[in-house]
Symmetry: C2
Subunit: 196 residues, 2 copies
């Protein structure tokens, strides 16, 4: 059985991190077994740190405020990911803009809470909710130099219900995220050589 | 029981026309009974004409080639719709650009086979299919001066399946259209005075 290693980067509560760990870590699929080789966090006080520990993985803390610039921070990320042996990196609520130092060296995917190419950027949930559209959704995409602009890998959509509150809307977005992100990572990794 | 009259405009096969007639014509809902007061077609050879007749409605043929310009054609449309007593007009595969002569005088809604504001214009199905997005959908919107630019009333979305053919994609679009258009018309009309 082939072992496929992934790295998970996070900044906050780690709800997507937790779902990835629960669904994928040390799990065997049709063509591979997935291992979370490392989790990396840029905020020393992130709630997700405790969640990672619960799965037996001590997160690597790379505090971005301790680096001279974005490039130096990204170099540290690249070094840590390479050292872990991860072939795929998952950004699970990782709130840092990445430079080419990262994007040109690491194959990574990101979760974005809108139907890309609509509502790129940091206010996607609010903008989707406020928009005249009657549907909304989420996207998993490859990370490249352009913010939220890399190739789309998977999307989920839903219809806004009449009178839906922002809280209900946001909860729906997060529920879809927790479903789609582990599934997409699994689908990307669990292929035979000829399919990949 | 309040009677609400609608007009339906079409140009082609009339599959959405037929669904509107089947679901709404002479049907009683919670707060109203809906009647299709007139059907209007701009092509004397359209297949939809026979479908309208099957529901006992002889379509009014307004052949756009017989009018000096778009405005003159639109005047004839406006006149016919007003004479019918319809309070709402439904464009069901009606393939004519409309001028302000129409849009400023008639409350009309249109069906567009994409998730507006994405993929406006005449190639929406092909463009949605070819796009890097993994979801697609349809929109019902009010008609204004801007092509496919009026207020969105309702949308439905779906996820493209892996290896989905264009034919299967198009069939899915049409299936959603047949579901959403009559439902949206019904929801717009079947309200009490205070809700409307």
């Amino acid at each position: 059985m082939v072992i496929k290693k992934i790295a998970i980067l996070f900044s906050g509560t780690g709800s997507n991190l937790e779902k990835l760990l629960a669904d994928l870590h040390h799990k065997t699929f049709q063509h591979c077994r997935i291992e979370v080789a490392t989790t990396i966090c840029n905020r020393p006080d992130a709630q997700g740190i405790e969640k990672s520990r619960r799965y037996g993985i001590e997160p690597l803390i790379l505090d971005h405020t301790q680096y001279a610039n974005r490039e130096a921070f990204d170099e540290a990320l690249v070094h840590a990911i390479r050292a872990s042996g991860a072939e795929l990196t998952v950004l699970a609520g990782f709130m840092r803009l990445l430079t080419p130092v990262f994007t040109q060296n690491i194959k990574a995917l990101n979760l974005h809470p809108s139907l890309l190419p609509l509502f790129k950027g940091g206010n996607a949930i609010k903008e989707s909710f406020d928009s005249p559209m009657k549907v909304a959704g989420i996207s998993v995409h490859y990370v490249n130099e352009e913010l939220d602009g890399g190739e789309i890998i998977a999307q989920r959509c839903f219809e806004k219900t009449e009178g839906m509150s922002f809280e209900a809307f946001e909860a729906k977005i997060h529920a879809l995220e927790h479903e789609l992100l582990p599934l997409t990572v699994k689908n990307l990794l669990d292929r035979t050589y000829h399919e990949s």
